[in-house]
Amino acid sequence: MVTADSVKQGIAAGLECEHLEVAGDGEHFQALIVSRLFEGRNRVQRHQLVYQALGDRMREEIHALSMRTVTPQEWQAGG
């Protein structure tokens, strides 16, 4: 079974994050991802960066990943 921790490690390994939280039940995961790399990118591009970090695991292991992708500034503003 895929654990939330292993999803977290996968994201952290492929994407530089200021803050990262992942929760989940083995199939469905929810993530809060705060990264400077999101600056100047729209929502689609932000999610694509995370999907890219997870690579094949996203297609093979992880059924669903729900995510909130914010920049450090947006995060501080409570966004």
């Binding site: 689609v44 999610h47 694509q48 669903a64 729900s66």
Partner: protein, 108 residues
């Protein structure tokens, strides 16, 4: 461009609002697809073209390459990829989805 990529391109350009989903609007077969239908209906979408990827394995794989997006549902408005279920929900909550849909209607 392969046949399936061309087929997807035709679908998203020939219809103003297209949702690739699991199941149908009446019988969604995944919670995320069900939510996608709900937010579109609540945003007042009139003409929605849906594609049930469970009935077409080629499209189910092809759509992931088309937008470089590994999950379903996927929403397209005016031929442009808008996002998956998280983005649709965020845009619904901010009122943005309704605005985009209304802008599309005016062009038609």
């Amino acid at each position: 461009m392969s046949d399936v990529q061309q087929q997807i391109k035709d679908q998203v350009t020939q219809h103003a609002v297209v949702l690739y989903m699991k199941g149908t609007p009446q019988f969604p077969q995944c919670g995320f697809s069900a939510m996608a239908i709900q937010v579109l209906q609540a945003s007042g979408v009139k003409e929605l073209f849906t594609v049930n990827v469970l009935e077409n394995a080629e499209i189910r794989q092809g759509i992931k390459q088309f937008a470089n997006w590994p999950t379903i549902p996927q929403l397209y408005i005016g031929g442009e990829f808008v996002g998956g279920s998280d983005i649709m929900r965020e845009m619904f909550e901010s009122g943005e989805l309704k605005k985009v849909l209304e802008a599309t209607k005016q062009q038609a």
